[in-house]
């Protein structure tokens, strides 16, 4: 029994599935396929994560080592919905080019749109992202757009027709966790399309806290690939995402600065 299936009862019993662009996903955790030490470790980690959507990048075939296999050798497209990204693109045109190549390489019209504005922070160029989103939506793409925690940009990406808006928790690969819960919460409050937090989550409590803000899902890669034990961390993230989601739906107790006993004060002996 694969560990991935173990949480479905809880999931199905107490939550509704994630729906993006009319497609239903079993898991609210979406994972990347980069930076793993080995392909085998990647496969086992993705299995443990329970993700049914995984991101991939579009790159040149290495002509010198033609025996080298692309990612498709490792991921069963029957099982995993592949989401091509435009990582590494610094202009709208470049991102659009990569999106089209991704569509040709894959089996769907979905794209994780990234237009990077700065090499050191890998923060998005929000102007170019909105511009590219409009073009790709017009071409029939389902655009999931990586963006900053800026509420206004998020609103514009929704207006541009994005299928999902994906604000960052903190910079890509930083592991700093959810730095600005206020803006993430505000984005979720203001948008109607799904909000997926993308980038910055470092450990399970980050994922749990992020889901507790009410967002629809989380996309991560480095937190799994760079964990000492990626498979165990993937299980932790699967459970942490579900935990945060259910805690959000359950409605937490109030915070108080004065203590309140858990046992009855009445009925004490003399």
């Amino acid at each position: 029994m694969s560990s991935q299936t173990t949480s479905e009862p809880a999931q199905s019993a107490q939550d509704i599935p994630l729906v993006i662009a009319g497609r239903e996903f079993r898991s609210r955790l979406i994972v990347g396929t980069g930076k793993y030490r080995t392909n085998d470790e990647m496969i086992r980690a993705i299995d443990a994560s329970g993700a049914d959507m995984v991101t991939v990048a579009v790159r040149r075939v290495d002509l010198d080592r033609t025996k080298e296999e692309g990612i498709l050798y490792h991921l069963d497209p029957e099982r995993y919905f592949l989401l091509p990204n435009t990582a590494g693109c610094y202009t709208a045109d470049e991102a659009i080019r990569y999106a089209r190549l991704g569509r040709a390489a894959g089996m769907n019209e979905w794209v994780k749109l990234e237009v990077i504005g700065d090499q050191r922070t890998l923060l998005p160029d929000v102007v170019a992202t909105v511009e590219a989103a409009k073009v790709l939506v017009a071409e029939g793409f389902k655009v999931l757009a990586y963006t900053s925690e800026d509420v206004i940009t998020a609103l514009r990406l929704e207006d541009a027709g994005c299928a999902a808006v994906m604000p960052l928790a903190s910079p890509i690969g930083s592991g700093l966790g959810l730095v600005n819960p206020y803006f993430i919460r505000e984005i979720k409050t203001r948008l109607e399309c799904p909000v997926i937090v993308d980038a910055g989550v470092g450990t399970a409590s980050d994922a749990c806290l992020t889901m507790e803000q009410g967002v629809d899902g989380i996309l991560m890669n480095t937190a799994l690939a760079e964990a000492r034990d990626p498979v165990r961390m993937a299980t932790a993230m699967r459970l942490g995402v579900q935990a945060g989601r259910l805690a959000y739906l359950a409605g937490r107790m109030p915070r108080r600065e004065v203590a309140v006993p858990s046992s009855p004060v009445a009925g004490m002996l003399d």
Partner: protein, 67 residues
């Protein structure tokens, strides 16, 4: 022989070679590669018919691990 650019590197090919021919010569299975020929993405069906001309730019890409 003609000179073309494949994945950023100049290569000498016989005149009249098709994209399908190029893939074959490189040992690449067409179904696992996307071909961008002079900035145009080729459908699988066009690989046989598309002849590469001197100075053409060919990009051969596929999916790799990424986040």
């Amino acid at each position: 022989m003609i000179t073309v650019t494949v994945n950023g590197e100049e290569r000498q090919l016989e005149a009249g070679v098709t994209v399908a021919g190029l893939l074959g010569a490189l040992g690449l299975h067409p179904r696992l590669v996307v071909v961008e020929h002079n900035r145009e993405i080729l459908d699988a069906g066009d690989l046989e018919d598309t002849e590469i001309q001197a100075g053409d730019n060919v990009e051969l890409v596929h999916f790799v691990g990424g986040g």
